[in-house]
Symmetry: C2
Subunit: 290 residues, 2 copies
C-alpha cells in the first residue's frame, strides 16, 4: 500500500476490502472496482474527462427528487435496467416476458370494476382493452390483481402533470382491476402514444451528445399478481410504432408487441355504441407458477 | 432492437450510439457500457441490489454541494482518482511523483515571503519546512510558484471549519510561495497529522460496511508550477505514520514519504530560537521538463 501506482492500485483497493463481513457486498464491490478500473485503463481516461464525469453525476444527483429519478433514467438509457430485469426474470417458454418497470408507477391506484373507463379524464381516442390471464398449463387464473398505467395523448403520465380544471383527477389512465372467474379482464382507456422520457436534464443532454433520441414506442404498463405465481411486470407495445426499433430505454421484446385495431364509430366489444372512432387491443398473459 | 434480452442488450446499446458525432465521447461510452454490463452479469446483480445502488447514488448526489463533493470522495475511496492521476502523470525516473489532488485545495491562497509562518493561527506543534526545486537535469528552478496546504492538529482543513474568535483567519495552514534564485524554499507551519476523510455521509457508511477505516496518513499537499515544466500536484507523507499502509484514498507512494524530525526547544534552522519543541522537514522536488 506504499507503492501505489497505475499497476498496483486495483489490487490495493481489493486488498482493502478483505475485512468486509458481508460476503455478497464484498463480491459486488470487488467486481465493480475491477470493471471500473478496466474501463478507466481501456479508454485512458484523462483528468479532464474524469472531472466532467464528476460534474455529470453531480448534476444527475441534483435534479433527482421525490418525483424525478434521474439515476434510474440513466440506468434505463444505458441498458442496465433492461439487463437487470432480464437476468432476474428468465421464464419458461410460453410465459409472458417481463420488461422494465419505469418511473411512473403509483402505489394504490384507484380500483375499478371490469369494463370501467380508467381514463378518468385523460385525453385520447377511446381504446377497449381485453384478454385473459392464464397459468403456464393453460388454466385460467381468476381474481388476478392487475395494475395498468399509461400516458395520455400528449405523452404525459398523470404524475407528470398536476390535476387541472378540465382534468380534475389525480389518477388518470391508471387503475387496478381483478380478473373474473374465467381469468378474463376488460377495461376502457385511451389510445397509448409514443412519448419522450424526461430529457431536460443531464441524461437528456447526454442522449443528445450521443446522437440518440429520447422517445419510447407507445405501450401500456401492466403489473400482474396471482397467488402461486411470480409477479409479472411488463408492457404491451403498439405494433407499427415508429420507435419500436429504437426505444430509448431498450424495453421492447417482440413477444410483447400487439395490434391495436382501429374501428369506425359503432358497436364496441363491451356492447356499447361508440359515437367516435375507437380502438381495441386484445392481449393474453401467461404467468409463471412459483 | 425488438428482440432485447439478456444476451442482446449490450449490443443494442452500443448500436444506439452509432450516430454519435463526438468520437472520443463514443469511445468512452462504448467502453463504459460494456464494463457496466459485464459487472452486472458477473455478479448477477438482483433487482433489489440495483435499487440499493440507485438509492446510494441518490444519497451521494444529495449530500454533494459547493463545499462537499461526495462523488470525488467516492472516486477516491474506490481508487479511481489514484488510477486516473497515475496514468496521466507518468514521469521519467528521477522526477517527483504525483498523487491525488484531494478536495481541500483553495484558489488564490494568501502569498507569503519565504520564511513566513503560513499557519496563520491553525493549531499544532511548529514545523519548519525547507527544500529545493530542481529540473530533471539538476538545475535549480528559481521563481517556482508553490502552493502548500495541510490540516491542523485536529485533522481539519480551514475550509472545514469557519473562522472563530481564536482562529479569525479564513486561510489557515495554506499559502503560496516562490522559490529563491537557488530554487530553495522554506516556510514555517504546523506539524501535519493523520485525519479521516468526511465519513458522516453515504461514502462513510460504505467504508464501514466494507470493513475499511476513513483515515489518511499525515501529509502536506504541494502544487508546483514552473515555466517550461509540467505542473506537479503531490503530497509529502510523514514517515512512521500508522496509516501509510492503509490510506483511505490510496495516495501513498514510497518516494513521497519523508522524515519529520523532532527537536527540543532551542535554535531553529531559520536562525530563530524556539521556546517550544519543534519539527523540521526537508524535501526536494524534481520537475519534469515539458
Ligand atoms: Cu469490465
Ligand atoms: Fe411508460
Ligand atoms: Fe489532505
Amino acid at each position: 500500500m506504499r507503492n501505489i501506482n497505475e499497476d498496483t492500485i486495483t489490487q490495493a483497493v481489493l486488498a482493502a476490502m478483505a475485512g468486509c463481513k458481508q460476503p455478497r457486498l464484498r463480491t459486488i464491490m470487488v467486481s465493480l472496482v475491477q470493471h471500473l478500473h478496466s474501463f478507466a485503463r481501456e479508454v485512458e481516461l484523462t483528468e479532464d474527462e474524469w472531472f466532467k464525469a464528476i460534474q455529470f453525476l453531480t448534476a444527475v444527483g441534483h435534479i433527482t427528487d421525490d418525483v424525478r429519478q434521474e439515476f434510474i433514467l440513466l440506468s434505463d438509457v444505458l441498458g442496465l435496467s433492461t439487463l437487470v430485469t432480464a437476468q432476474n426474470n428468465a421464464k419458461p417458454a410460453g410465459c409472458t416476458e417481463a420488461t422494465v418497470f419505469g418511473p411512473f408507477f403509483v402505489e394504490n391506484a384507484p380500483e375499478y370494476a371490469l369494463g370501467a373507463d380508467i381514463a378518468n379524464g385523460a385525453g385520447g381516442e377511446p381504446c377497449h382493452v381485453s384478454g385473459q390471464v392464464r397459468s403456464l398449463d393453460g388454466r385460467p387464473l381468476a381474481g388476478v390483481r392487475m395494475d395498468v398505467w399509461q400516458s395520455d395523448e400528449d405523452g404525459h403520465y398523470d404524475v407528470q402533470r398536476p390535476p387541472t380544471e378540465t382534468q380534475p383527477h389525480t389518477h388518470r389512465a391508471r387503475g387496478r382491476l381483478r380478473t373474473d372467474a374465467q381469468g378474463r379482464y376488460h377495461f376502457r382507456s385511451i389510445l397509448a402514444q409514443p412519448y419522450p422520457i424526461p430529457h431536460d436534464g443531464p441524461v437528456g443532454k447526454m442522449l443528445e451528445a450521443l446522437g440518440r433520441h429520447p422517445w419510447r414506442p407507445a405501450h401500456l404498463h401492466f403489473m400482474l399478481e396471482a397467488a402461486g405465481h411470480e409477479r409479472l411486470i411488463t408492457h404491451v407495445f403498439r405494433d407499427q410504432d415508429r420507435y419500436l426499433d429504437s426505444d430509448a430505454v431498450f424495453g421492447v421484446r417482440s413477444t410483447l408487441i400487439a395490434p391495436w385495431v382501429r374501428h369506425e364509430a359503432g358497436p364496441a366489444p363491451d356492447g356499447s355504441v361508440q359515437e367516435r372512432p375507437f380502438w381495441t387491443l386484445h392481449y393474453d398473459f401467461v404467468l409463471n407458477p412459483q
